[in-house]
């Protein structure tokens, strides 16, 4: 029972983490909460649904194409809704994000419909027994492995690649990054592409796991992932990963024992963390500048 909850929690948490990365990366570079990210994730699930329909049971091509399409959607959202507001107060940009969220979810309802759609089967389900009372199936394993691999790749990208370093530098100090020759427009586009593509991957994974895709699925998942990002310390990439896992596990255990309060627990955890550690668990500003 405990093992089962732990498995479910880690799996759900790894998906929260994938979505949370999009919030935290955009916050790091642009210092606002992209409330449209949950809806970009929902669109990712729909892209995955169509791709899975046309490509059949080929997981990897569906994953890669979903990530590319969702990444492009994220970049477009930025161009339309945020780029014209680059120098505006952050509250204005946040409001624009809320508007974009409504536009994206209504667009899905208008173009696709408001029903709950099944995800075409990418794999046949097999269960594996782990001890007397715990079961894990191959879809769960795939979800977990994919999420972990993507996070490892992201870590490599952010810490080792040229643009990854530019994103970190720009998150710390845009003006000085500009002096190094970093073009902010490119950094912003890359950040939105990467963050959104991870959200798209999460859309595919969640769609596969629950076998359900619907136009309002971005709301709850987005809010949870946002909570995970805040938990870990908004702006911190390891923080988002850790916050997602923590939230997934806590929520599953809470759900098992107090099933009616499952969703409330997520926010209770966030309130408690913020009361005692307002900067989140991984405070992004560990290194204070000396004068």
């Amino acid at each position: 029972m405990i093992l089962q909850q732990l498995i479910n929690g880690i799996m759900l948490g790894s998906v929260y983490a994938l979505i949370a990365l999009g919030y935290t990366m955009v916050y790091g570079v642009m210092k606002f909460i992209n409330f449209a990210h949950g809806d970009v994730y929902m669109w990712g699930a729909f892209f995955a649904m169509f791709l899975a329909h046309f490509l059949g049971g080929q997981f990897l091509p569906v994953l890669i194409l979903t990530m590319i399409l969702t990444g492009i959607l994220g970049v477009l959202v930025e161009r339309v809704a945020y780029k014209p507001l680059r120098r505006a107060p952050r509250l204005v940009v946040t409001t624009s994000a809320l508007g974009m969220s409504i536009v994206l979810s209504n667009l899905a309802r208008l173009l696709i419909g408001s029903a709950t759609y099944p995800m075409p089967k990418v794999l046949a389900v097999h269960d594996f027994k782990l001890g007397p009372s715990a079961v894990i199936n191959n879809i769960q394993i795939l979800v977990l492995v994919t999420a972990v691999v993507l996070m490892v790749l992201l870590n490599w990208f952010v810490n080792r690649s040229r643009y990854g370093k530019a994103i970190r530098a720009a998150s710390e100090d845009q003006e000085t990054a500009g002096l190094m020759g970093v073009n902010m427009d490119n950094v912003v586009s890359v950040t939105f592409f990467v963050g959104s593509s991870l959200g798209g991957a999460a859309g595919l994974l969640v769609g596969m796991y629950y076998d359900a895709v619907y136009s309002t699925m971005g709301y709850a998942a987005g809010l949870k992932a946002f909570t995970a990002a805040i938990l870990g310390g908004i702006g911190s990439i390891p923080g988002a990963m850790f916050g997602g896992l923590l939230l997934g596990i806590v929520e599953n255990f809470a759900g098992a024992f107090l099933s009616n309060y499952r969703d409330g627990i997520a926010f209770l955890v966030m309130i408690l963390v913020l009361l005692f550690r307002p900067g989140g668990l991984f405070n992004a500003k560990i290194y204070q500048k000396r004068v």
């Binding site: 970190r168 500009g178 020759g181 500048k289």
Partner: protein
Amino acid sequence: MKGIGEMLNVENMVVSYGNIRAVREVSLTVGDGEFVVLIGNNGAGKTSTLKAICGVNSPSGGTVNLNGENITGKPSHKIAAKRVAMVPEGRRVFAGMTVRENLDMGAFLRRDKKSIENDRETVYELFPVLRERFRQPAGTLSGGEQQMLAIGRALMAQPQYLLLDEPSLGLAPIMVESIFEKIVQINRQGISLLMVEQNAFLALSVANRGYVMDSGEIVLAGTAEELLENDMVKRVYLGMEEAEES
């Protein structure tokens, strides 16, 4: 690459922040290989001048010419690509990134891996402490070490022109001296320097030429020797009261 007539040429530049005119019709030049200093009191407009040259702010009037090309109002990343590097006021190292990563950021626009590595070696030879600390987050360095890193980072861009904004700010006198020695060494390697400095005596003792700025305007210009002998400079910037009599 270098030729006669290569220079950084600022003409009648105006910089405003809303209604405040921080820089009024400033003109100055930095010739190839020259070491030029810009001195002046707090709020004179020195930082504003440097920031407008390298594109952090865009001037509201006048022109900035680089080797004959008009670069006025171009964004900073484009000006950086023209081999103008800046050591900003207050160092502004990327505190959460390692020393090595900070140097990598200086070379952001370069792709020639081999020569980047060579330049990193050169920076480590100039500032050995950076080699010792290369894996350490820059935010954990001392103020002097951060200043060395900010200079090293700018050198990684292989600049033709290097702008330095108060490299002595907040450093102990012995550290200031050592930093200045390195700056002179950098100039000897052929990099043209425009340095803003409050420590007028030290600045003028190492530079070729200087400008004195006050309330947004250049009030005096000349060779370093001339300025060191100038009564007004002696009185106001070198703190020599007795100069008033002579």
